[in-house]
Each structure stands twice: as C-alpha cells, then as structure tokens.
C-alpha cells in the first residue's frame, strides 16, 4: 500500500523524530527541525500542528512522560515513529535522492557549494 503523501515540513518533522530517537519531544523536535531546515526558522506552533497531523495519519504516536522539575513540574509529550511513518519517510527520502541525482546530472556535484 502506498504511504500517505507528505509535505516538506512533515518530512522535516519525521526526520527530526527519527534522528532524536527516544528523546523526541516538543523542544528537541523543534530544535532538530530548525537544524535540518537551516537557515530557515520554524515556528514552535507549526511543529505542534504538524505533530498532531502526523499522529492523526498514524505516522507517529505520542505519550506523556512523568513530570520533570526543570519544566515547572510539567510532563513532556514524547513522540516516536510508527512503521507507517518510517515507510513514508523512506519514500520521501528516495524521492529527494532522485531529485538530487537529477540536479547533479545537470549541474554537477559542485552545485551544492553554490549558495
């Protein structure tokens, strides 16, 4: 079955969750998304909205941790990729790879140094 199509920001959020492993929650996901999308900034709220959407699509799941003192005694909502999310991210990465290859074939490998 084909994976649901993903927007670019959804791909970034999924990639961030994958990269963070067991430490994926709002603050860390946002930081990782900003690192991946640099120099563009990402709004924290956009990350939350995207996480909700990905959860509704069954691509990620979430749970609340125990409260932590450094956050005023508040819990963290952790996220993890579901199998469908991993599959969708793989497909998105394959497409991105094909785009990169097409660009390189036309413009050469040095094109990535021109910013």
């Amino acid at each position: 079955m084909a994976s649901p199509s993903l927007g670019q920001f959804e791909q970034l959020v999924l990639a961030a969750i994958l990269a963070l492993g067991e430490n994926a929650y709002g603050v860390t996901i946002h930081a990782e998304v900003e690192a991946l999308s640099a120099p563009r900034k990402a709004a924290l709220g956009a990350v939350y909205a995207t996480l909700d959407r990905l959860e509704d699509k069954g691509l990620v799941s979430s749970w609340l941790s125990d409260p932590t003192p450094e956050r005023g005694g508040r819990a963290k909502r952790y996220y993890r990729l579901e199998e469908a999310g991993l599959q969708a991210l793989r497909e998105a990465a394959r497409t991105a790879r094909r785009i990169c290859d097409a660009v390189e074939r036309r413009l050469g490998e040095k094109t990535w140094n021109l910013t």
């Binding site: 929650y25 709002g26 709220g45 909700d52 956050r71 005023g72 508040r74 819990a75 909502r77």
Partner: protein, 364 residues
C-alpha cells in the same frame, strides 16, 4: 558549553494566561515546553502568543468535523430566520439579522469543542445548546448596546418573534452534540485494540447504556419540538400548516418507534462470546441505520423551509439568485447529512470488524 541564561521561571500572570488559552489536551506538554525554552518574559510572551493560533487551529481540526459544524450552522440558520423573505420596510435584511447570532453561536460551538474536557455525550450536547444560546443572546446584547450608543442603526437585532423560532435550535443542537460530538478526551482514540473476550459483555452493556441515554434524550428533544410545533400550528395556523401537519404526524410516529424499538436489545441470557459478538454487531448496524435515518427526519423540516423560503419565493418574485442559493443550500445540506452518516458508519465498521475477530477465534 552554553551558559544557562535562565534566571527564573516565567511570570505567573503570563503562564496563568497561557494555561487558560492553551487547549486542555495540549496544556501540560506545551506549557512545559514553553517553560523549558524560557529566557525572558518578552521571549516567553512572544513565543506563547505565536504558538497559540497553531494550537487552536490544530485542535479545531481534531475536535470539529466540517459535516457536524455545517449541520449545526444549518440548524441555526433555519431557526434564526436567515432564509426568511424580507418584509416590506424591514430595516435590515433577514440574513443579517439572523446571520449575526448564527455566526456567533457557530464560533462559540467550535471554541467549546476545542476547550471542552471529557464529557458524557448527552451532557456535551446539553452544554452545546446552552453555549449556543448564550452566544446568540450575547450577540444581541452587544448589538443593542451598539445601537444605544448610535454605533449601528436600528434593525440589526432579531425581531421578537424569531426568539421563539430560535428556541427550536436548542433541542436540535443538543442531539447533534449528543450523537455526533467527537470524543476529545483520548489522543489515542484511533488505536485499534481487540477487547478481551471476557470484557465483551461489559462493553456491550456500556454500549446499551449509552444508547438508552441517547435515545431518552432524543425522545425528550423530539417531544419538545413536537409539542411546541403543534402549539404554534394550532395558535397561528401559518401558511406552511398543510405541510407541517404531516411532519408532526411523522414525528409522533417516530417518537413511538424510538420509545418501543430505539433501545439496544439486551444480550440473550447465558450467551457465549460468539453469540454476544454477533448480537453486538447486529445492534451496532441497526443503531447506525436508525441514526442515519433520524438525521433525515431531523433535517426534513429544514429542506421544506429552504424550498419554501428560497426556491419557491425566488420563483414567485423572479429572483434567480435566490433560487440558485436555495438549490445550492439544499445540495449542501444533503451532502452534510451524507458525510456525517458516512463518517459515523466508518467508525461503526471498524468496531464491527474488531468484533469479527471473535468469529475467527471461534473458527480457529
């Protein structure tokens, strides 16, 4: 290593304000995230304010379905006289007079869905009706205040007679909220799990109880509408009376059916897990069919109102735009009922499929 710039926590009034504004299901985690990122009151306030619209919009998407909000809007539009033909000398058109309280009530209902906590369906529907009534009255109070301050001209508020018609919206909103409102309490509501066999009977009894409560609420709501309508028909004998009386007869017949057969039938005594699962499936399908039919009954008078007020009046007055709006509204209303029934049917099918697992266990 970066120096820790955090001197203290966020100011209590600010975090208190955000606690109030952030939807309950996101509150704990988002407040914690904002606090973890706290650097200064201005940074905290700015980030919190910029985050809020995303949270509210995302929550609205999760808690309100377009079909249900659309049906609620239709109920309000019909009962606040938005489609009524304008009378000669009327200061403001009917769609403005009714449209303002209708819009206020729809916005209030969407906001309520975002901020409500877990509630029983019947209570949820009752609170929906109360919030909508409050929003309608508040919009009128604001308009009256503005008129008194000469900020708006006369005629923006609802005519007195429409308050009575507006009352009809409340039982309908109650039942829409009670039957179709989304469960906001559980973020993992979509997870599909198979209940253990021994829990099946308990599960069915909870279902039976929910159906009983909902059925009772629907009988009360329909009864209330029937009594009010019959009173109005007898007292005023309006031009639509020849169409309204057969509707009333159908309403009364339906009330009798709901009272006699609307309940979920009890489990046969000493039944094993497979007969219980089969019985459960049959009842789910029967209740879903009944529910689908009931929406057509509830909205039947609205179809008649749209035809009379928009299409027939448009034809009589030679107003093609009014006719086109009427035709579009009829199609939209039918589409919304079909979508609401489809969405509920999908959830029922998932439940029925989960129950089919008991047959496989039995066969294996």
């Amino acid at each position: 290593m970066e120096p820790d710039l955090r001197k203290s926590g966020p100011p209590a009034p600010l975090s208190g304000l955000f606690r109030l504004l952030i939807p309950p299901s996101d509150r704990e985690a988002v407040l914690g995230d904002l606090e973890e990122r706290y650097r200064s009151p201005i940074q905290y306030a700015s980030e919190g304010i910029r985050t809020m619209p995303y949270l509210i919009a995302s929550r609205a998407r999760r808690t309100s379905s377009i079909a249900i909000v659309g049906l609620q809007a239709f109920v309000l539009i019909a009962c606040l006289g938005v489609t009524l033909p304008d009378l000669p000398g009327q200061a403001m058109p009917s769609w403005v007079q009714g449209g303002i309280p209708a819009a206020a009530a729809v916005i209030a209902l969407v906001l309520r869905a975002i901020y409500r906590r877990h509630e029983t369906p019947v209570r949820s529907g009752l609170l929906d009706a109360a919030v909508a009534a409050l929003a309608m009255l508040l919009s009128q109070a604001v308009l009256l205040g503005m008129a008194a301050a000469a900020l708006v001209g006369p005629g923006w508020t609802l005519p007195a007679g429409l308050y009575l018609l507006g009352f009809f919206a409340l039982p309908a909103l109650w039942i829409i909220g009670a039957v179709e409102g989304r469960d906001t309490g559980d973020r993992l509501a979509g997870v599909k799990t198979r209940p253990p066999v021994e829990a099946l009977v308990q599960d069915y009894m909870r279902f039976e109880q929910r159906v009983r409560t909902r059925n009772r609420a629907e009988i009360i709501a329909l009864g209330l509408i029937a009594i009010l309508s019959i009173g109005i028909l007898l007292r005023f004998n309006p031009p639509l009376a020849p169409v309204a009386w057969p509707f009333m007869a159908a309403f009364v017949a339906l009330l009798a059916y709901l009272a006699a057969r609307g309940w979920a039938r009890p489990i046969p005594a000493e039944a094993g897990s497979e007969p219980v699962a089969a019985h459960y499936r049959r009842e789910l399908n029967r209740q879903n069919g009944l529910r689908s039919f009931m929406w057509w009954v509830w909205f039947g008078p609205m179809f008649v109102g749209l035809v009379a007020n928009l299409i027939l009046f448009g034809i009589r007055m030679d107003q093609p735009l009014r006719i086109a709006i009427g035709a579009a509204a009829l199609l939209l209303l039918a589409g919304l009922i079909l979508i609401a029934n489809r969405d509920r049917g999908r959830a029922i099918r998932e439940r029925v499929a989960a129950l089919s697992a008991y047959d496989e266990i039995a066969a294996g």
